[in-house]
Amino acid sequence: MRRLRALAKFFYDFVIGDDPTIAAVVVVALGLTGALEGAGEPAWWILPTAVVAVLGLSLYRAT
């Protein structure tokens, strides 16, 4: 059980890291991209916009 918990913690640190907001914003941005493309609208701009926003926000909060 302790090993499983340690493994889960390792993967959490490995994938999510110090700021869970980053992972959350990436998931939402990918979902929005899929939804917009599904509706026939170009959505390539969503991820670059999300990257600037979340990186700026995360760094602002960290400093």
């Binding site: 390792f10 490995f14 994938v15 999510i16 890291g17 110090d18 700021d19 980053i22 992972a23 990436v26 998931v27 990918l30 979902g31 991209t33 899929g34 493309e37 599904g38 170009p42 959505a43 390539w44 969503i46 991820l47 670059p48 990257v51 600037v52 979340v54 990186l55 700026g56 995360s58 760094l59 960290a62 400093t63």
Partner: protein
Amino acid sequence: MSRDVLLFVAVFVACAVEGVEAVTIVLAAGLTRGWRSALAGTAAALVVLAGIVAVLGPALTALPIDTLRLVVGGLLLVFGLQWLRKAILRASGFKPLHDEDEVFTQELAAARAAGREPQAIDGYGFTLSFKGVLLEGLEVAFIAITFGSNQHNIGLAALAAGSAVVVVAAAGIAVHAPLSQVPENTLKFGVGVMLTTFGMFWGAEGAGAHWPGGDGAILALLAFTLATSLALVAALRRRHARRHLPPAAATS
């Protein structure tokens, strides 16, 4: 062609950074606890890694390409943004530089403090090397498998990862000391930019988006991510300087 070159460079640099960390730990274990245990730990970790790659590699390539791009692109993007965030904080002075000399000294002190056990294979040296090589090796494998399977060129990604590990290991053997000559934060900054770029490109493609200019958009995304990151470093450096002004200068 340019996609293959970018793939090779991205995987090589990312894996070299992980290699530097693993070699530093093995050197610290080898110098303090004996090379036999350090090398045995390294070999055991490589066997476990080979098993993990043998199981995960084919499973990944069996997935539909769009699903793979969406999942892997998302993971790379999260992973890349984390690296970039840390590298920007270090470059702007808000976080201490990840100094391999310091890591080496810490590992050395911890290894010495643990005391040597009177046995052929020293448990501490073995575990230290095993852990270091397995964790850093998992990151190397993750990078090589995800980049390679996305580009349908696992062979090239594996070649880049293997070359990076060989080059770093050879440098470690040659200098026999921590690889502090490698400007680690600069490398990590570059890797963060590349992972973020590929993550955006594949993630959006996996979600059904079409990039203007097709594959050429990778270069535009690379320039965009680099420019954004450098601008953030510059802004945070100013912020850091303002925070650390002497009181008289701050009020004048």
